[in-house]
Symmetry: C2
Subunit: 229 residues, 2 copies
């Protein structure tokens, strides 16, 4: 909670047009696991998992508002149609209009309706990838709880491209045990796909004070940069 308030404050201070995407964190993953919603989709798992991520989203949106950012939650269950766990359709014009209007959309990993599977889980990272391609995104900042992608000695790998990915791939471990959506490895893989489209990413430690502000202000920070080869 303290972190959310601090990060919201840094976002307010930086005052740049952004779209925020967050994962389910400790809210949604335990629910998704408990109800086995990927293997055994049912209405209870859907409702409970969605409600859990909504709770985190609401805290984030309300904290941003308190810090003076006009923010609104956008919930993938309402607007995103998946097919076999992949985004099939999503009216992105709404997100564009929000940003143009001066509103910061706060979007999250979610359980969504799926044309084949009934329901499926779409991670925050998948959402990020989809949005980045559709919107005119300059750079993606991935705030995590570590100093970027670490090597086996715990040192930050400064730069990952598709060329050196195999080399560093072994070191990449999941960020938390509860993450049903791929952890750090999944994140890097998604961001590498974006790098192919010319969209650069920066993975940094958002738990450290001022890192979000510095990233948004274009300052150089300790981080892993992911870009095209």
């Amino acid at each position: 909670m303290q972190n959310i308030k601090r990060i919201a404050g840094e976002i307010a201070r930086a005052s740049v047009p952004i779209v925020i995407v967050h994962g389910a964190g400790s809210f949604g993953h335990p629910q998704a696991k408990k109800y086995h919603i990927q293997q055994n989709p049912d209405t209870e798992g859907l409702a409970k998992t969605h409600r859990a991520v909504l709770e985190l989203n609401t805290v984030f949106v309300e904290t941003l508002e308190e810090e003076g950012v006009a923010a609104t939650g956008v919930h993938p269950l309402d607007c995103l149609l998946a097919e076999r766990g992949v985004v099939k359709r999503w009216e992105i014009e709404i997100i564009k209009k929000m940003v143009d209007f001066g509103v910061t959309p706060v979007i999250h990993g979610d359980v969504v309706m799926d044309t084949v599977n009934g329901i499926s889980v779409i991670s925050g990272d998948q959402i990020l990838t989809y949005l980045a391609k559709k919107l005119d995104v300059t750079v993606i900042g991935a705030g995590t709880a570590v100093d970027g992608v670490l090597d086996k000695n715990g040192r930050t790998i400064p730069h990952i491209t598709s060329s050196n990915f195999k080399e560093v791939s072994d070191y990449i471990i999941g960020s938390t045990d509860d993450d049903v959506t791929g952890g750090m490895r999944g994140k890097v893989l998604e961001l590498l796909k974006l790098a192919e489209f010319g969209i650069e990413s920066v993975i940094f430690n958002a738990e450290l004070s001022n890192m979000v502000f510095k990233f948004l202000s274009g300052e150089v920070i300790k981080a892993t940069r992911i870009s095209g080869a």
Copy 2:
């Protein structure tokens, strides 16, 4: 609140596949008025009005869940793009999939992004009309705080069609002073449009115990029926 709990219980008891649409009621209308969001759209009006209707929606969804209905809120701001105050695009497949999956979508009047006006208010009645045409709707029940549409003596007008609308039109007054979206007259006009498409509506008093249950069970109730000529 007592009414919401009772109505949620009646919906649970009837156990039929439905889509619920509610207005902003005493939550959103005062906000929409205060911030003049139709005349002077800004981010504060957007955020405050949306948050107010979200609050009502959350109460409704949580109460339905408590009564055993798998329900989820669907928020037009997230998924509906308007043009000059009229629905332009909305991925209705998501609503269909929810109903097929056994989930009851609970949708509300909302402030939404608008391609021309920046933002605009879309009433619960407009949403109802749009959905009814897109979904395979058998009948629409409009639960209000009165016994349907009343004549000048306070008696329920049993049947309104486009043929007798002019005749009864004078008696129809707004349901509340705070309603920025047309009140009872607006409701009847929207439902008459649907009647032209062969979709019948029933306006009844949802404040009376068991009326929602009886309507959903197909029983005859004191109400105004709106149908084609």
